[in-house]
Amino acid sequence: MLAPLSWLKEYVDITLSPKELGDRLTEVGLGTEKITKADGDVIFEFEITPNRPDLLSILGIAREIAAVERKKIRQLNLPNLTKPKKESLPIKLNPDYKLFQRWTGISIANISIKPSPQWMQDRLTKIGLRPINNVIDITNYVMFELGIPLHAFDYDQIIGHEMTVEKAIGGEQFTSVDEKSYHLPKNAIIIKDKERIIDLAGIKGGLNSGITDNTKYVFLHVTIDDPILIRKASIALSLRSDASAIYERGVDKGGTLKTLARAAQLVIELAGGNIASKIYDLKNKAFEPWKLKLRTERMNNILGIEIPEKRVLSILESLNLNPSIITLSSFPRKRESRFVPVKTGIKSGVTDSVIECTVPTYRNDLKIEEDLIEEVARIYGYNNFPKTIPIGQLSTKKIPYFKDFKIEEIAKNILQASGLSEIYTYSLIGEKDLTEQRWKTEDFLRVDNPVSLEFEYLRPTLKINLLKGFSQNKPNFKDINLFELGKVYLGNNLNEAKESYFLSGISNTKNFFEVKGILERLFDELGIKEDPTKFIEILDEGVFFEINYSEIIKQVDLNKKYIPLPKYPPIIEDLALIIEEKIKTGDIINEIKQQSRFVTDVSLLDTFRDSRTFHIIYQNKEGNLTTEEVGKIREKIIKFLKEKFNAKVKE
């Protein structure tokens, strides 16, 4: 939303510099994105949050400025629209209150279409609009001035002088004033005359009933359109207009007559003419301001400070919320030391009061007490608040979805210490990434509206991105060691979808045993009893591993217990065996360990041709092992290995 300073000043006196004003408005919620100087004026560019349709207008912005400047708004001097003696241009309106909650209109006769005056053209240009002619410019001008959309029809082009609001069936052809053709979506709100669709309500007017250079009679109307239907139609058509942006957010239902009066005033002033119909105002509700209560005690509890009541009232007053104190507790209130006393301002009274506000219809974002609390807090200024640290209980119970972050830290630290560098990559991958792995795309989860085809599928593995990272580094590095801990998405449809963290890595400097050793060390540190061999794959690029991390950390056991140091010395010996190559070392080690509880550790010391030398540690925790005892165990081992693996002791 663009707003020229000169236009704003018509409504309110501004003492702050543009920069100060922008900063202050940002603080109170009117995000100032840009301030530019142009032609002796200053143009503000504001970002309007979805809850504030009223700020999509110069008047609305001026009201915010009035609140921060503690000034009064200058009200427009509007004529009372009165019914003429002769209704020369009557019109029949057939309402549907589900579609238009309110329908306000008037006819004006004998106007002359010409360019609008320079001052109006300048203002429209400054807010990014293109001037067309006086009547069309007036509708745009008034919409941006007051924040309620309106439309002007060529009265003569409304066949039968009758208008009916209804929902589109879907597929109807419609040509807008800017000569673009649309097929209407189902349930778009449309206005028909006796024969044709003449308006796509809330979004765009129709070419067939629009103002032309020859227009002599106009029908001006202001409607309150259903926000959801407007939103759906404008999304379906990919057609967002200034009017639809206001309607979607919820327009000021109480302001239609004022808007109509302002438009009529300007038409008569700039295009001549006279009022030629009664004032139509079809509605099924009164659309009056509503009451909202604010308990100061509740406010203080939520804000954590006590803002003096006088200041609270003046803030609410400055926002036109018409505050009045309706309850005064005569009991001295218990003072809670938790409140941070406000240093500036007058000390508040010792009573708790309830302040009743009357909310103007343009502030339909104010629905509950907390909304009023925010109003007070934001104008008081968030940056004027003291800062406290929450008190209260700390729960020692694990919260739902608890994650032991420490495990991840340990895992990543071990991989880092082992020489691997961590990468983060996208979860979304392309069809090509999958087909290159000879996978069928239908086996994987897919996004319906990807930002691009490169990011259409949810990755089922971290391998693809690791390999990409690997090749990306190839030109610059000889040694590449990478890992990622990230989510993969399994299952081929949403009912079976499962997210799992995977831990994967690739190395072209480490051999199979070095990678296996890293994983063994990782598992040891986490207390996981698992053989990592099955997670390792030897690729052309290097040694790759991929672990279902979510699954494996279910085994994590970080509990440690001190084991007393042995009182008796171990006996260590090396045993060289001739065993067929096909017999796995891991199996031999396991079998040796099985032979006696006094065998406390076995490792492969050396391999030479067909012989393997094992390093065996014998130890008895309760006493010394004698040479004979060890001899017996050794014999048992040799005998067993001979029977099982046909192993022979090397001479």
């Binding site: 907390e370 739902p400 897919r446």
Partner: protein
């Protein structure tokens, strides 16, 4: 003969004590103790002495031999020590300014390093870490957070919808979460207050990628609900956490904003560290970067999870983790965080 022996001893010892190299020492050793050495020759003569004199002279000869051997051994040790000292002096001649040999360790991603810090800081004020799904329902991502269908605020979070074919899921109901706030409902509906939680995680939005936006980005959601949580607590927590993470000297400011799931709504801006507030492409020339949107949890949200908003209050926030990382290391583009280039990784 006795005198001769003592003479040999004295000559040998004084000679040996002056020797400072191994070679000479070896020669002298031979000169006295060798097969035809002075002492050896004298000892051979003992056999020629009268029988009664032989034990006395023999003992003396042994003593002399021992004394010479000991002196040689001691001198050998001395020479060795002296040589070691010399080689020590030689060591200093190595050019020690040459860089050392570093062990090969890898690098943790900057995102991980910052996240570890974030978790640590929140631990100090009693927050636990939770983790939840990225494939999320419309209910938790939007509806429980007071964002009904067809609400214009959904425009600010353009959604990536998942293909529902082959499943019984109604199209549009299951999406990639657009915000970690989706975890508020999931956690709160399962536990009674007090609760203090942070939820780090990845989010997805239909967004065109540029220096400060991505279609995948990280946030750390956090919330606290208790019997009397106040807006000043929120300001204090944000201030404490960001100063701990980004340094005592950072500049922060708060502004009002609107998210349907908070009221009052707060936005937190940090002075851009890339340009020190002068304005750059990263902060869209404003000098400030939005870092931590927050607010007091909206009564409708508390109600939706079964809490009584008159009895408990709470605050919630979301730290833009990706942005925090780029701001901490003055990286001018969010896309650097998903770039696996080791020339980037090795800087951290």
């Amino acid at each position: 003969m006795e005198e001769e022996l003592i003479q040999i001893k004295n000559t040998a010892v004084s000679l040996i004590l002056d020797i400072l190299d191994r070679k000479t020492l070896e020669e002298v050793k031979l000169q006295f103790l060798g097969r035809s050495g002075k002492l050896t020759l004298v000892i051979k003569e003992i056999a020629k002495l009268p029988k009664e004199d032989r034990p006395e002279v023999g003992r003396l000869a042994n003593e002399v031999k021992k004394a010479i051997e000991d002196t040689i051994a001691n001198q050998e040790l001395r020479i060795r020590q002296l040589t070691d000292q010399e080689s020590g002096e030689r060591k200093e001649k190595i050019d020690t300014s040459v860089p050392g040999i570093k062990p090969d360790i890898g690098h943790l991603h900057p995102m991980t390093q910052v996240l570890m810090d974030v978790v640590d800081v929140f631990k100090t004020i009693g927050f636990q870490v939770a983790d939840g799904p990225e494939i999320e329902t419309d209910y938790y991502n939007f509806e429980v957070l007071n964002i009904p269908k067809d609400h214009p605020s959904r425009d600010t979070q353009q959604t990536l919808f998942l293909d529902t074919r082959k499943s019984k899921v109604v199209p549009g109901e299951v999406i990639l979460r657009t915000q970690t706030s989706a975890m508020q409902g999931r956690i709160m509906e399962k536990i009674k207050p007090p609760v203090r939680a942070i939820v780090p995680g990845k989010n997805f939005r239909y967004e065109q990628v540029d220096a400060s936006h991505g279609f995948e980005f990280w946030q750390v959601e956090g919330f606290l609900v208790d019997t009397s949580v106040r807006l000043t607590d929120l300001f204090g927590t944000i201030d404490y956490v960001l100063r701990k993470l980004m340094g005592e000297g950072i500049k922060l400011k708060f502004a009002t904003t609107n998210f349907p799931f908070v009221e009052p709504g707060v936005d937190t801006y940090i002075q851009c560290t890339v340009c020190n507030g002068r304005g750059c492409s990263f902060c869209k020339q404003s000098g400030w970067s939005e870092i931590m949107p927050a607010g007091m949890i909206h009564p409708n949200v508390l109600k939706a999870v079964g809490y009584d908003s008159q009895k408990v209050t709470g605050f919630a926030f979301a730290i833009g983790l990706s942005r925090l990382v780029t701001l901490r290391y003055q990286m001018d583009d969010l896309r650097l965080l998903t770039n696996p280039d080791m020339r980037i990784l090795e800087q951290f």
